[in-house]
């Protein structure tokens, strides 16, 4: 396998004439977990969309050494799977059918699922402890259960690069940990690469190998959590008053009321 899982060079994106990303470089090694943090509007989701191929970003994004432009959509979908920030939950669709959507890149256009696709989906459901849910309507599941189903669809895609846009923003603290532990376990067991965006800085630092701090469309800082989660950087880029406490798995960010 040549090169990094994700290689972004000087990515510039304008939306409606407004620069969102103004020259971003990003490298994610195979098997690494990198989380992009940054204040609202810093361009985190845009960066993820560009890596996922949802934005035309000419020639500056490569996945596993291949420029994303030269990948056909179906081939790209076998390499990179995205869990959107708030995925659409189609009315009336069962968990099984929803996870089967993840097999789309393997199903011939206008064709139907094969027994192999079904087996792959059952295996993913089994692995994520979702076997009892397969007939349930997705819309009737709780937030934590849904997040596992979204993950299951991404895993059914068979991609080794996982893009997670705010994977836990809709979850309570217990389900946040449950989902992130699950992602980390899957990553270690199957050599997945994870590129995520997150708002909760302490949680972001505890799970990521490296953090990338985006501010105003540029990389303000990048590196291990200890180097990025500093009182100085966070007060400058978030205008936040925080205290950093060293935890067991990285720095913990505690908001302090300004006086």
């Amino acid at each position: 396998m040549t090169g990094a899982a994700v290689e972004v060079r000087d990515l510039r994106v304008e939306l409606g004439g407004r620069p969102i990303l103004a020259g971003v470089d990003l490298t994610v090694a195979v098997g690494e977990w990198v989380t992009v943090i940054g204040p609202n509007g810093a361009g985190k989701s845009t960066l993820l969309r560009a890596v996922g191929g949802l934005l035309a970003a000419p020639g500056v994004v490569s996945l596993f050494g291949t420029p994303i432009r030269s990948l056909r959509r179906r081939d790209r979908a076998r390499v990179v799977a995205t869990v959107a920030q708030s995925p659409v939950v189609p009315a009336g669709m069962s968990v099984l059918d929803y996870v089967l959507l993840g097999r789309t890149p393997y199903i011939p256009p206008l064709g139907r699922e094969s027994a192999a696709d079904l087996a792959a989906v059952h295996e993913v459901l089994d692995r994520l402890d979702l076997m009892d849910f397969d007939r349930r309507e997705l819309a009737t599941l709780s937030g934590g259960e849904r997040q596992r189903v979204f993950l299951a669809r991404a895993l059914a895609q068979g991609a080794t690069l996982l893009l997670l846009d705010e994977p836990t923003s809709a979850l309570d603290i217990g389900h946040q940990q449950e989902v992130l532990e699950l992602v980390d376990q899957l990553r270690r067991a199957h050599g997945l690469t994870v590129l995520a965006t997150m708002h909760d800085l302490s949680v972001a630092g505890e799970y990521a190998d490296r953090l990338v701090l985006l501010a105003d469309g540029r990389v303000a800082a990048a590196g291990p959590p200890q180097e990025v989660l500093t009182e100085e950087l966070l007060s400058r880029h978030y205008r936040a008053h925080v205290r950093i406490v060293q935890g067991d798995h990285g720095p913990l960010v505690v908001p302090i009321r300004p006086r």
């Binding site: 959509r73 659409v88 009315a91 009336g92 669709m93 059918d97 295996e123 692995r127 899957l186 067991a189």
Partner: protein, 391 residues
């Protein structure tokens, strides 16, 4: 390469359960009671058309066929009619006991009308189900989107401005469906464009509002044309109300190619429409070209609508009633909705036509009036059950 399957750790199912994730998380989890634990390859099947529903759809078409041909000013025994219909199949020779004249009524008068009803109803329902999927909008329908109004204006223009000059509408000139197609595509483009003006996250309501505006605009144009050409107002008006023509097999032959084309294109995309239901971004990241599929499907559904409208005028609500009934009864996957809508839509319209021509016999109620009478109350029901889509 799907790596997560290739190097799955060996061991018990427990070994594959992520550390830190309890076996049965509390909260929101259903008990396992009531159904045996499903192993891989257990009986749970993906969404798809079940055989019994397919058979029910075919049965409905056959019932509509026999009833439609039997009932009328001269009622014929259904058994004899069924025998006579079977005689139309190659290699079948049954004695139906019908006179020559009755056989002529069956094959030259009633059968073409029933078949046209099956085709038009099937097209309208299929197009409705297709629009609802493409626009991810439970209220999308050839009428609410303005598609039918566009076709109506184009046909009115074609008749009044001379494209259909001389010919009565029955015995429709070939130019009429083409004009209708152009009109319907133009209307759907206007509706979609206006709805899109609301920005990326256009809501279902925006699209319907745009459709209402476009429909009103096109209907005004049509009224204006009719005012200016009052000599053809009678001709256009009887067509506008919706009616199944009785011009023998001519109209059937004209509609059939459009029916086949629309049905093939739309039905081939039935799984893709399920994928599109998660939205364009996610469909793209799953490897599809949502916009490309959308344009193709809109073109196909509009072509079908245009053919239906040019053959039978404005017959409302079939495109909403039928797909929603199917959705409520048989399932929400497009693999279920689309084929069943086509079958039940055809059967529904053919049976409605029986009501239209017998309820006030010897006069005929315009079929569009009958479908709208049934459709209005039904529409309210649909609104109530699909309320969550708008919340």
């Amino acid at each position: 390469m799907p790596a997560e399957r290739a190097d799955r750790p060996a061991g018990t199912p427990e070994a594959s359960r992520p550390a830190g994730v309890p076996a049965a998380p509390s909260g929101g989890r259903v008990t396992r009671g009531g159904r045996p634990p499903a192993g891989p390859g257990a009986t749970v099947r993906p969404a798809g058309l079940r055989t019994r529903w397919l058979l029910a759809g075919i049965a409905a078409v056959l019932v509509a066929l026999v009833a439609g041909v039997s009932l009328g000013p001269v009622s014929l025994p259904p058994g004899s009619v069924a025998a006579e219909l079977l005689n139309l199949l190659p290699g079948v020779h049954l004695d139906s006991g019908l006179t020559e004249r009755e056989i002529a009524i069956v094959t030259e008068l009633r059968l073409p009308r029933v078949v046209l009803g099956l085709l038009v109803g099937g097209l309208l329902a299929l197009a409705g189900g297709c629009y609802q999927g493409v626009f991810r909008n439970p209220l999308a329908d050839p009428y609410l989107l303005g598609v039918a109004a566009g076709a109506g204006l184009a046909v009115t223009a074609a008749i009044t401005l001379g494209a259909g000059a001389g010919g009565a509408i029955t015995g429709m000139p070939v130019t009429i469906p083409l004009a209708a197609f152009v009109g319907s595509l133009g209307a759907v483009a206007m509706t979609y464009g206006l709805g899109a003006a609301g920005g990326r996250d256009r809501s279902p309501a925006t699209l319907i509002l745009a459709g209402v505006a476009v429909s009103a605009f096109l209907a005004a144009g049509q009224t204006y044309l009719l005012q200016r050409h009052s000599d053809s107002i009678q001709q256009v008006y009887s067509w506008l109300l919706g009616r199944l023509a009785t011009a023998g097999w001519h109209d059937v032959r004209l509609v059939l190619p459009y029916f086949v084309l629309t049905a093939v294109v739309v039905l081939l995309h039935r799984r893709e429409l399920d994928v599109l239901s998660v939205g364009d971004d996610e469909a793209t990241s799953l490897g599809l070209h949502p916009q490309r599929s959308r344009y193709l499907l809109i073109a196909a559904a509009s072509l079908g609508t245009a053919a239906a409208v040019s053959a039978s005028g404005l017959i409302g609500f079939v495109g909403i009633i039928v797909p929603h009934t199917v959705r409520l009864l048989a399932g929400s996957s497009h693999r279920v909705i689309l084929p069943l809508s086509m079958l039940f839509g055809g059967a529904f319209l053919a049976l409605t036509d029986v009501v239209a021509r017998t309820a006030a016999a010897p006069a005929e109620i315009p079929i569009g009036v009958v479908t709208a009478l049934l459709g209005g109350p039904f529409f309210v029901l649909v609104l109530r059950t699909s309320r969550r889509v708008f919340s």
